[in-house]
């Protein structure tokens, strides 16, 4: 816990964290200081002048709150006519050349200019001269579309490219009302985090080509989630919606602030990973070559499992802890072996020192915690010894070539529970569709040993069965999620109730963080 200091805002005493700047410190107790250029991850720049406040201790009349650290006894003045006038004047300046094309702007509904206009300005334009015409719909690369006319020149995107990605593709060129953000000629945005500038942009100057005109933001339902793109497990917000008479679908993923894991950002490939939640999904259960209902197929699976013989369950490293523990319980009951073999998820050298990891599996730490063997030798031995292999949504095609898989499963019976259509499932006797990560609630442990729980986000028109429920129907001793957590709570550091996991996650132990590969 940081040191707390007492200061006065508009004459009212509040207790805030020491050392932070006034925007963050006072913002934490619910008093908003308007700002455009300041962003906690990018630091204070002080160029927008929207956050000017008065400090009643003999300083210059007004100071930028983003550059002023909170100190004990400070008397901050926000609610005064001369400060409101500054805010109105800054807004007027920003809006002089703003096209006010909110009807066609994707940012409308989450735009700082709109919000601040309603809160601090609300006046008619006094402009009588034509507005400065600048570039519109400029492709900046990496799926970023820039509109120079909407830009308020806060420089967040420029600072992001310089400070965070250290690639520096963006700059502000020219001066005064001709100033604009641009790329260097022939050098578009080229980094793996470029789409974060879309989130950073307080107005609609930076928009995403992928999300362009797809939805108005007020239609979107926002569910917290955890990215399953790599072992980092970034906190995200899943923006989804069901259009009238259509299938529910995800429209975009956005980073959700989590100081323990990803800060304010996510990588572009993680951001685009929502497409896999829709494309190539497996929708129909199959037994042999005949389409079956899920119930019929499940009965057949239960019969096969009851026949005895050597059974091997293959787990996916993307599965949630709940799924893993219930599969483990079923395997123990049936005397089956388990394997979490998933070497293909690891792409050596693909990770970087910021967020992206080599390991593309969301919950490998979970497999390790539950003591499930992930080795190739263990996998080969288990499969070769088995009469029946049950694949629980592991995309084996990522780890093994088609020939290797063909050889392995030629003389073995394979049952597959899969969220997506995969090559390997053609060899399976029974295939049952299951929910993918955006359609179930679960918990994953990331590469830093941080346990995060996420609720169910998307409910499809015909929701595929969740793996936990499916395994419960097959006779797992853990019949519900609560049962799973009772079992999980036996592991060191895990709580008995996922509801007690804080939103930013729970650091399980420091040892794993120390093992953190660069």
């Amino acid at each position: 816990m940081a040191d707390m200091v007492k200061l006065f805002v508009n004459g009212v005493e509040v207790e805030v964290e020491a050392g932070k700047n006034l925007i963050d410190a006072i913002g934490a107790v619910g008093i908003e200081i308007p700002h455009l250029c300041y962003h906690p991850a990018l630091g204070a720049d002080g160029n927008c002048r929207m956050c000017l406040v008065g400090i009643e201790d003999g300083r210059p009349p007004l100071v930028p709150a983003c550059k002023t650290p909170a100190m004990a006894g400070m008397k901050v003045l926000l609610d005064a006519e001369h400060i409101r006038k500054i805010q109105r004047d800054v807004m007027e300046l920003e809006l002089i050349n703003h096209p006010t094309d909110c009807p066609v702007c994707d940012q409308a509904g989450e735009c700082r200019l709109q919000d601040y206009y309603m809160s601090y300005d609300r006046r008619q334009s006094r402009m009588t001269v034509p507005q400065v015409v600048k570039g519109k719909k400029m492709a900046f690369g990496c799926g970023v579309v820039h509109d120079q006319e909407r830009c308020v020149l806060c420089g967040r995107c420029v600072r992001f490219c310089r400070q965070i990605t250290k690639t520096g593709e963006l700059g502000i060129i020219n001066r005064s009302d001709d100033a604009r953000v641009n790329i260097f000629p022939g050098r578009p945005l080229h980094n793996r985090y470029a789409l974060n500038v879309v989130d950073l942009c307080p107005v609609g100057a930076m928009t995403s080509a992928d999300f362009r005109f797809q939805q108005r933001v007020w239609f979107l339902k926002k569910s917290p989630g955890v990215c399953h793109g790599c072992a980092r497990g970034c906190s995200i917000t899943v923006d989804h919606n069901r259009e009238k008479e259509q299938e529910a679908r995800i429209y975009r993923l956005r980073p959700r602030h989590n100081p323990l894991v990803n800060g304010y950002f996510i990588c572009d490939s993680g951001r685009m990973s929502y497409k896999a939640e829709e494309e190539g999904r497996l929708n129909e259960a199959r037994h042999g070559r005949l389409a079956r209902s899920v119930d019929q197929a499940l009965l057949a699976v239960a019969e096969d499992l009851a026949q005895g013989g050597k059974i091997t369950f293959i787990l996916s490293p993307d599965s949630s802890l709940e799924q893993m523990v219930t599969i483990r319980a079923l395997a123990e009951k049936l005397g089956a072996t388990l394997s979490g073999f998933s070497d293909g998820w690891i792409i050596p050298g693909d990770g970087d020192d910021f967020l992206i990891r080599d390991d593309k599996a969301a919950n490998r730490a979970g497999l390790e915690l539950l003591g499930i063997d992930c080795s190739r030798t263990g996998f080969t031995a288990a499969v070769e010894a088995a009469d029946l292999v049950v694949n629980c949504n592991n995309d084996l095609g990522r780890s093994l070539s088609a020939e290797e898989l063909g050889q392995l499963f030629q003389s073995r019976r394979l049952i597959s529970f899969a969220s997506h259509r995969r090559e390997i499932d053609n060899q399976a006797e029974i295939v049952i569709p299951v929910a993918s990560w955006s359609e179930y609630a679960g918990s994953v442990i990331n590469c830093q040993g941080i346990l995060q729980h996420f609720p169910r986000a998307v409910v499809r028109n015909q929701p595929p069965m969740e793996l936990v429920e499916l395994i419960a129907r097959l006779g797992s001793p853990l019949q519900s999620e609560a049962d799973c957590w009772q079992e999980l709570a036996r592991l060191p550091g895990l709580p008995a109730d996922p509801a007690t996991i804080p939103t930013e996650g729970l650091q399980l132990n420091d040892n794993e963080a120390a093992h953190d590969q660069p």
């Binding site: 009807p103 519109k136 108005r216 009238k244 008479e245």
Partner: protein
């Protein structure tokens, strides 16, 4: 506030009324009186001869919708979704796309109004920032034999014509 109470005498208690037939005959006399009077002279009939004589539609009448165009024939709608957001019946479905006719950036790729769901409240017209949707076609009767016939698509909406002079609409329009 003291309510104004008007006491009405309860009918039906006297012997003559309770005999029933006498009252029925009195009632029939009134009905047949009107019937024969109108049969002989229907000029004073207080009934509208619909559909032979169509009703007079005032400018502010909320009829079937249409999408308006700029003078050069391009669509005014920019797919801002205000009408869809404001629609209490959820009868409007819009799909937006890139604008291809040289005007601002966005236009509807699909614009569908389900007239079976529409309650003709006119909120879409009020919400539109660009006067792109109007209910001034003067079409007060929409009928069809199939459900699809009530789905107005982009072309049908654009083909609609205003039934009133522009000045009158601006003065008295919704």
């Amino acid at each position: 506030m003291s309510a104004r109470v008007k006491t009405i005498a309860r009918r039906g208690a006297s012997l003559q009324e309770r005999l029933y037939l006498i009252e029925i005959c009195k009632g029939m006399a009134t009905s047949f009186g009107h019937f024969f009077r109108n049969l002989l002279d229907n000029s004073r009939l207080a009934v509208r001869h619909y559909p032979e004589v169509p009703p007079e539609i005032p400018v502010r009448w909320r009829g079937r919708h249409r999408l308006t165009n700029h003078p050069d024939g391009t669509m005014k709608c920019v797919a801002c979704f205000m009408c869809q957001t404001n629609c209490p019946a959820h009868c409007i479905t819009i799909e937006a796309g890139e604008r291809l006719d040289g005007r601002a950036e966005k236009m509807p790729r699909r614009f569908q109004i389900d007239l079976l769901e529409c309650i003709y409240c006119g909120y879409c017209v009020e919400a539109c920032p660009l006067d792109a949707i109007r209910m001034d076609t003067g079409i007060y009767s929409v009928n069809g034999t199939r459900r699809d016939a009530f789905l107005l698509d982009l072309t049908a909406l654009q083909a609609g014509q205003g039934a009133f002079p522009e000045d009158d609409y601006q003065k008295g329009g919704a």
